[in-house]
Amino acid sequence: MASTSISKAEKSYIQAGLLANPPRRADGRSLHDFRVISLETGFAPLSNGSAHLSIGRNPHNGSGGTDIMASVKLEVESVEDDASDRGRIVCNVSCSPSAYPHLTSGALDDLQYDLTTVLHQTLSHPSLHPKNLSIIPRKKSWLLNLDLLVTADAGNIYDALFMAARAALWDTKVPRTRSVEYKSPKSLSSASGDMDVDQDTTSGFDTRNVAHATDFELPDYWDEGEILEGRERWPVAITLNLVKTIHFLDATLQEEASCASRLLVVHSYESPTSPTVQSMRMLGSEELSILNLKNLIKEAESYTNDMFSSFTAKLEDEDFRRNQKARERFGKRR
């Protein structure tokens, strides 16, 4: 993992602070406190959904902190013969070299690839798949490209990535489509006006010639589309950093370099009271017994519960700000 180089003295100083009673961290937070998280949705007007998230940004001048920009772009894809026509989700994380100035381009590629794998494997799993990504059954479907750009990394990158991904997917609107069928024009030469010929009346009960949609069009509509289905399912991640007997949340870069390992647990809340675990990864070389592992998983669930409710409240707030409040402001101007 990308980490700042840190001397042994500093490492042991940070560890001693975390293991002390009461625990001490450089910015005075408790072990389970997060830094300030700021979120803005819809910052990219050309995308179907977007979010800009930062953790630990300095409130006075907006500098510092882990900064992620996430955007969703939908593309139309022709369905291969036996592949699924329900649509696809592809996640991609790219790390800007300005976020990791000490990494070579090969190491940066590897880091990008690792982050992409975790996100893609979690978010593209069939259990989270939204239902409204199909356009024409067996012919065309939407390909959802979720791109995340890391512009700054001040620690806790996984939590930030999953949060930004969730916010962008929450904000995504799928354009409405209308299926279109092509019909050959009626031939002009038959029975033009000389004879009255009974045209074949097509009965509504005639089910032999079923209309098959061959193409689609985008009707004019005042909004960007319908909301991507399953928005409450998108998961929330929490990283527990482990130092000997204790664990702490939201580590800064120096704290990450001082702790030997961390456990990433991702929960999904399809029903608000009973979350399911969508993904779990262990990173690092600390020893962990089975009992400790089970306890950590339980703790992770309780932290994620808190995180989830406040995150959803913020997302709904953002929706309100951009729709209702914007209309009110516009109405006042007239």
């Binding site: 690839y113 494997q121 675990v277 262990m282 089975i290």
Partner: protein, 260 residues
């Protein structure tokens, strides 16, 4: 139009499809009820583990678990030339899928999926090797997957083979690492799932641990599993890992006897 994308090989036609065998045409997997033929849900596949097959490597192991075949070789500890001084040794794991290992042909060039399996195996082995004994050195572990049967199988068998190869190379270790995978299908926990079984599963979990010390070295989970089921999966995997450990220890013992 580019004549050949890869000039070193004879490229086939641009669009090609793998053949579908007549007896395999069946309904989509979600409708077919999968039954395990030769073993119970709580049994692992029988393991064939042979250390020391690759004579030019410092240590090697070949593992076969029904349709899962992996050859692993360990080179090291050797000098790491280009990295800066580090007081602990480095563990470098490289995984390669043979082009004929999966149903769809894999590219002979480095693939994307290779790295995610390599990272998982490295994570599993990291706490087991006494890297403080090898400053400035690298231990290279190369795995070739000859036949693959699901990503969970690859990670699990790969870590077992790698740990055996490390022991065969005589590298200082704290303990042997064994791995086991579980899939949640409906309400049942199926141990050691094949590719087909994990495709129908709602979630899978791989646990790597050192049974001799009771330490977990890696947890890898994907898909949807309820928290209570996760704890049950971890317990089931842990029990199986202890069984696998005795197999590995016996294989190493036999190989050591044969060397004498």
């Amino acid at each position: 139009m580019q004549s050949a994308f890869d000039r070193r090989r004879i490229n086939g036609p641009e669009d090609s499809y793998h053949p579908v065998f007549a007896n395999k045409i069946q309904e989509s997997p979600s409708n077919v009820h999968i039954i395990r033929e030769n073993r119970k849900i709580s049994d692992i596949r029988p393991i064939f583990l042979q250390p020391g097959l690759i004579s030019q490597a410092n240590g090697s192991a070949y593992i076969e678990m029904e349709s899962m075949k992996i050859a692993c070789s360990v080179y090291g500890p050797r000098q790491s030339k280009n990295t800066a001084y580090n007081e602990k040794g480095r563990l470098n794991v490289e995984v390669k899928f043979a082009p004929y290992s999966c149903e769809l042909r894999r590219s002979p060039l480095r693939d994307a999926e290779d790295r995610s399996i390599a990272v998982a195996i490295q994570q599993a082995l990291l706490s087991s090797v006494q890297l403080e004994h090898f400053p400035k050195s690298t231990i290279d572990i190369f795995l070739v997957i000859i036949e693959a049967d699901g990503i969970e199988g690859c990670i699990a068998s790969g870590s077992i083979a790698a740990s055996t190869a490390l022991a065969d190379a005589g590298i200082d270790m704290y303990g042997l690492v064994t791995s086991c995978a579980t899939a949640v299908i409906g309400t049942d926990l199926w141990i050691d799932p094949t590719q087909e079984e994990s495709n129908t599963a709602s979630g899978t979990l791989i646990l790597s641990c050192m049974p001799a010390l009771g330490i977990v070295t890696n947890v890898w989970q994907s898909g949807r599993i309820a928290p209570s089921e996760i704890l049950a999966c971890i317990d089931a995997c842990n029990d199986r890992c202890t069984d696998i450990h005795s197999v590995v220890a016996q294989a190493l013992l036999d190989s050591a006897h044969n060397k004498i």
